[in-house]
């Protein structure tokens, strides 16, 4: 079975919102659109978005770190929003695991939005139906597109390749490897929805050096009572003048 999903690398995301705008651009004119705005240029602008980038500060100054956190439907493997739908408008595709809303069946009761612990569903004020990320399902199988183009708009737009896309049930896919090798995790695992989208944590590359790796304990000069020159405290030109 296939489960298409995104893997978002928080180590790489720079918070540029390119995925947000490209998502809106593609989907407002695509099959899932229109994603209507209210008061776009007035007071209190609002509108429908499938994807957002949020920013969190972890820790306290001076040991604070900024985390940019892209947030879109996680296409849960056991989606709590689907069984509560009274009309069957909300469904999870068997063939690729994408969770979708049938706009022609949705009655706009908003119950599914209550049933999503992540708040990933939005009610479209103009069309009066529930909308959500489609993983750009209208791109993924388009025979007129090249293989490169048959990926979600947000993935294509990301300038830092923080968004990976693929089948997380295929152990050899790029996303499965990333989850396995870079510690991919799920959001709010406590609710058991098993979100398909994973996040890769911030990773820090640290050089771990022991003191004896910095200064050779068995340096033969020490046996002779001589010290290396220049001295440790003096400026040096590595590989040129030192021992």
């Amino acid at each position: 079975m296939t489960q298409l999903a995104l893997v978002i690398d928080l180590n790489v995301c720079v918070g540029c919102h390119a995925c947000v705008t490209s998502c809106k651009e593609w989907n407002t004119s695509g099959e899932a659109g229109p994603m209507v705005d209210q008061n776009p240029y007035g007071k209190d602008p609002t509108g429908t978005f499938f994807n957002r980038v949020q920013t969190f500060e972890v820790g306290e100054f001076p040991n604070a770190e900024t985390i940019h956190f892209p947030k879109s439907c996680l296409h849960c493997e056991d989606p709590p929003c689907v069984p509560v739908c009274p009309t069957g408008a909300s469904y999870k595709r068997k063939e690729d695991g994408i969770v979708l809303v049938d706009y022609d069946k949705c009655i706009g009761c908003k119950y599914c939005s209550w049933a999503c612990p992540y708040g990933m569903r939005e009610f479209d004020e103009a069309q009066k139906v529930m909308k959500k990320c489609t993983l750009c399902v209208d791109r993924l199988y388009d025979p007129q597109m090249t293989a490169e183009e048959r990926r979600p708009a947000c993935v294509r737009a990301c300038p830092t390749s923080a968004r990976l896309y693929g089948d997380i049930h295929d152990p050899e896919s790029e996303v499965s490897r990333a989850i396995r090798e870079a510690g991919g995790y799920q959001l709010m695992p406590e609710w058991g929805a098993s979100p398909a989208n994973h996040y890769l944590p911030r990773r820090k590359t640290k050089l771990r050096l022991r003191p004896d790796e910095i200064e050779r304990a068995d340096n033969p000069l020490k046996v002779d009572g001589l010290l290396p020159k220049p001295d440790k405290s003096e400026p040096s030109l590595d590989d040129v003048t030192t021992w």
Partner: protein, 327 residues
């Protein structure tokens, strides 16, 4: 959560309608075994059913205002295998139909005896229809409550107390309404209905206070740490990704202060339970003024609306963790 008035009206109106029907059928069951005097089919049961039906219709109409696409509402009966909302959509009209049939049979005195119990107790058509409707009334309470009680991460709702409260609070307002109705249509039943209304209201007070205590002791399972998956005791949101509002900032916040919430809690405890019980107590002695009993129902209904508002407002959705700061 943001309390929607359509849902507040739906749940309180049908709750009272169901409760009134339960009261009527309780009286008929007692009368069947000669524990209460027989009542006139038309002026008591038929008109009583009509009042119950009007409340149910009011609730149904209110529910349509909750929908974005009410013209497709019929579709919501299809997913009864998985969705409590769908089950409610089926049971509500079924219950309304049975109440209508019950009232109609009483109005035209269509009472063919279908069976006879030992002791010469005749089970006629209205008793059979009434029993089915009686069962459906309880099924409907359960369906309505389970819509909320089945959402496991809305922990204020995810409790059997939610179901018990819906049954008891709906039943309380229904029996209070029945007391008012009896004061007009069948004065000898006022004491009977007032007694049950007081008992159910007090039971409702106990279970509602129990759920208030339970909810006050809840510790959130989801935290900002689990929401974004970063293990650090101090995480602060700096931006939710947009400056204007969105569905996420409107639907899941009640938009009132903590003080307002607390005052609503005391208001509904007073209006839905304390004052109605005191007013109903006048009916216990018999010969109570209709106006006082009507006041008891109106006050209790307003109190239950406040209770329902508080019920929604108190539920804290975990998605709110993602919407703490505008930017």
């Amino acid at each position: 959560m943001h309390p929607a008035f359509s849902v507040i009206f739906l749940t309180t109106l049908i709750g009272a309608g169901q409760g009134l029907f339960l009261a009527l059928f309780t009286a008929q069951s007692y009368a069947l075994f000669d524990l209460l005097p027989q009542q006139d089919s038309q002026t008591f049961y038929a008109y009583g059913s009509l009042i119950a039906l009007l409340f149910l219709i009011g609730g149904l109409v209110a529910s349509f205002f909750h929908l974005g696409r009410p013209e497709r509402a019929w579709r919501s009966a299809t997913q009864w295998r998985t969705s409590w909302l769908s089950r409610e959509v089926i049971v509500l009209p079924a219950f309304m139909g049975m109440v209508f049939l019950y009232g109609l049979a009483h109005f035209f005195e269509f009472k063919p005896v279908l069976a006879t119990l030992p002791g010469n107790v005749a089970i006629d058509f209205t008793v059979v229809v009434g029993t089915i409707a009686w069962l459906l009334a309880f099924v409907l309470y359960v369906c309505t409550a389970m819509i909320y009680a089945c959402l496991r991460f809305l922990r204020e709702w995810y409790s059997s107390l939610t179901v018990i409260n819906y049954i008891l609070l709906g039943g309380a307002s229904g029996f209070t309404l029945a007391t008012v109705f009896a004061a007009i249509a069948a004065p000898e039943l006022v004491r009977f209905f007032a007694g049950w209304a007081v008992i159910i209201t007090l039971l409702g007070l106990v279970s509602r206070v129990a759920s208030l205590i339970r909810n006050a002791r809840l510790k959130p399972k989801s935290t900002l740490q689990s929401a974004i998956g970063i293990k650090h005791p101090k995480i602060v949101q700096k931006s939710q990704g947009f400056m204007g509002g969105s569905f996420n900032t409107r639907e899941f916040f009640h938009g009132r202060s903590g003080g307002f919430l607390r005052s609503i809690k005391w208001i509904f405890l007073l209006l839905a339970f304390v004052i109605p019980v005191l007013l109903l107590a006048t009916g216990l002695s018999g010969g109570a003024a209709v106006e006082l009993l009507l006041l008891a129902f109106v006050v209790q209904y307003l109190g239950l609306m406040a209770e329902r508002w508080f019920f929604f407002a108190q539920a804290n959705h975990p998605q709110n963790l993602y919407y703490q700061a505008v930017g």
